[in-house]
Symmetry: C2
Subunit: 393 residues, 2 copies
């Protein structure tokens, strides 16, 4: 038996306990929980086959009461001794995509981000569209290209036309960007024809991950009218390997910024689901932005209520992301197109002036939040840009 | 043993052989093939467990050579005698969703439809956007709400604002519409970072279905700027139960309409993949439109090439639809918003003037195409409108 050591100040104490899918090198993936710098194999530690799977989906589908019970059992277990065979060092294992992603939706819930992008994409119009303060604007993305942190990102090719070009050309993306976001994962499905109320949010949503919604701005700008972003986004979306349970985020709950006009009744909340999560964006090892999730206009409970108000069902494994998290300050912007104002105001990264991503660049997004005892961590979502692979076309 | 009778003039002769998932009442779903008015249980007839599944996905993933082989074996089998236990009358079985839908994409490939909708949604601007003739415009839809023909469609509720209203309101959709489309189903996946060429289309795409992309026009009009349609579409998308193999559509291949300007090289085709498929739209039993698929500007091979040109992977079970099929004539329009010109020019249905869908209405879309011997059928995609279910909210 082993006693798991939790280092002083660890972001992965008993008030966090995020779930992931891991494999000791060469073995089959299974569900684990992170404690300090260790990963506990839950199929072994709890003697339960629901964790002997390559995704969290089966466990998430068991529902809220079970999430509470398992969390309590893990905390109890970890306070005592854990079987040796169930404990691995986090550096000794591979981390996998934690969920089988069903549908992927991306919202646009930061007023600062939406305003900045409106100014950049449509300089002659009002930055916020008339609908923006009435509903959480969102769209479906490509579930099949959601990848786990650490997956290399191949620079996409495609069709793009700069404003000063007469016709579009095919080629490598020249304005490759990030979007720092938070993603929410549905555990308990909802039926076709039934809306989920804001009150029921925490009984459906299991937890949260960090998201990097890689964006090819030149491809996006040319393609997105009138049906929205498509190839400018669909080449890859990275998520962090650890799913922080909503149960661990109770201490992070804060009211959203004031919503005016007052939303329609189906979007109102009796209890706040704003979240005080502090993100950090590192570009080649240098922090360039600190996006504050607490500034997000729409809460994740409002997003789920909106997504299902038309009777659309949701499934176990649905992932919906917040959209880029940007605060009011320049160094709080969660996308490089905003941070560099469309490439016109470079930022200095390790002494070089930089605008969009170059081949070989690496971006790491991390986050922490208040937990019940200290701060808790989301870990990170990391990705490195590889050159475009013309040869494979 | 049974000899399967194929009635004279049947749309389901040996040159069609569409696949579906069926169950004799009360039994587990499995893969079958339609022959005349019969369904042949392939797990029994071919003694192969890949067909003893609730979706076509495992079979589709086996690849092109296997599709050719199985099709030949079925034709040979059906020319002789089939075990009694493998044959069911099509009216004696339930038909299910034929595939586990991975990602769902909807294109916008009819010039007539895009022009009509441009005029209706943006009366003061050019009807076609500048990008439209350069690339097949498309977007991701909700895979989890793809349902099989015969599933009732609950009228969606949501947020909408008529042009003459100052603020949006919540309520039932008042402009519920259809979109008659063709959908293509990916059998063989493609890898992340790899584009599929137009030449490789038929090695990846297994077959085609009919699609009714139900559309809540009032919800869509209010929400869709700038990220595209979302709740106006996501409440339900119906598909026909029979997947017509691409192998059955060789005689239907025609050139697309002339494409000008010439598309970029990655969108060019060495062999045509336009399809001469004739659709019919019935509203409460009366035919109101005959959309011609051969008028579609972009081919399905071009759609797949575009969808993957940025390196996005595709998966077995991916469904991508053509977008509304509309021809140049008024009675060839595949959506009621076009057919009734935004509700201003009602059509007469069974003696009544009608614009958008009323509760209790039923829409049936069917199609036929030239086969190797006679015409072949797609069957139908059918759906009936149920009243909004406020009580469940």
């Amino acid at each position: 038996m082993t006693t798991i050591d939790i280092p002083e100040g660890s972001l992965f104490g008993l008030d966090n306990l995020p779930y992931g899918v891991f494999s000791p090198r060469g073995s089959a993936p299974r569900v684990g929980v992170r404690v300090g710098d260790s990963v506990v194999d839950l199929a072994v530690a709890l003697d339960d086959d629901v964790f002997a799977r390559s995704s969290l989906n089966a466990f998430m589908a068991q529902g809220y009461d079970r999430w509470v019970e398992v969390r309590a059992r893990i905390a109890e277990l970890v306070r005592g001794d854990v079987p040796d065979a169930a404990v691995f060092g986090v550096s000794e294992v591979d981390l996998h995509l934690p969920v089988d992603v069903a549908d992927y939706v991306d919202f646009y819930a930061s007023e600062h981000h939406a305003s900045n992008l409106g100014r950049l994409f449509r300089p002659d119009a009002e930055p916020l569209m008339p609908n923006w303060k009435h509903l959480p604007v969102g769209y479906h993305g490509r579930a099949g290209t959601v990848v786990v942190s650490g997956t290399d990102i191949v620079r996409p090719c495609g069709q793009r036309k700069a404003p000063d070009e007469a016709v579009p050309t095919y080629g490598e993306c020249r304005r490759l960007d990030i979007e720092a976001e938070l993603g929410f994962i549905v555990g308990v499905p909802s039926e076709l024809g039934t809306a989920v109320s804001t009150e029921d949010f925490s009984r459906h949503v299991f937890g949260a991950v960090l998201v990097n919604d890689w964006s090819a701005r030149d491809i996006q700008a040319w393609e997105y009218v009138p049906l929205g972003p498509f190839l400018g986004k669909s080449f890859a979306t990275s998520i962090s390997p650890w799913v922080v349970p909503l149960l661990a985020l109770e201490s992070a709950r804060v009211p959203t910024p004031e919503q005016s006009p007052t939303p329609l009744p189906y979007l109102r909340e009796s209890e706040p689901w704003g979240l005080d999560i502090a993100l950090s964006v590192e570009w080649n090892g240098q922090e360039v932005s600190r996006p504050p999730y607490r500034e997000m206009y729409w809460s994740p409970a409002q997003m789920l209520a909106h997504m299902t108000v038309n009777g659309a069902s949701s499934r176990t494994g649905d992932l919906y992301a917040s959209g880029t998290i940007s605060g009011p300050e320049k160094d709080q912007r969660g996308a490089f197109i905003e941070l560099t104002w469309g490439g016109k105001e470079p930022v200095t990264v390790n002494g070089e002036e930089r605008t969009f991503l170059q081949d070989g660049d690496e971006v790491v997004i991390s986050a922490t939040a208040p937990g019940a005892e200290g701060r808790i961590g989301f870990g990170e979502v990391r990705g490195r840009i590889l050159p475009a692979t013309e040869a494979k076309r």
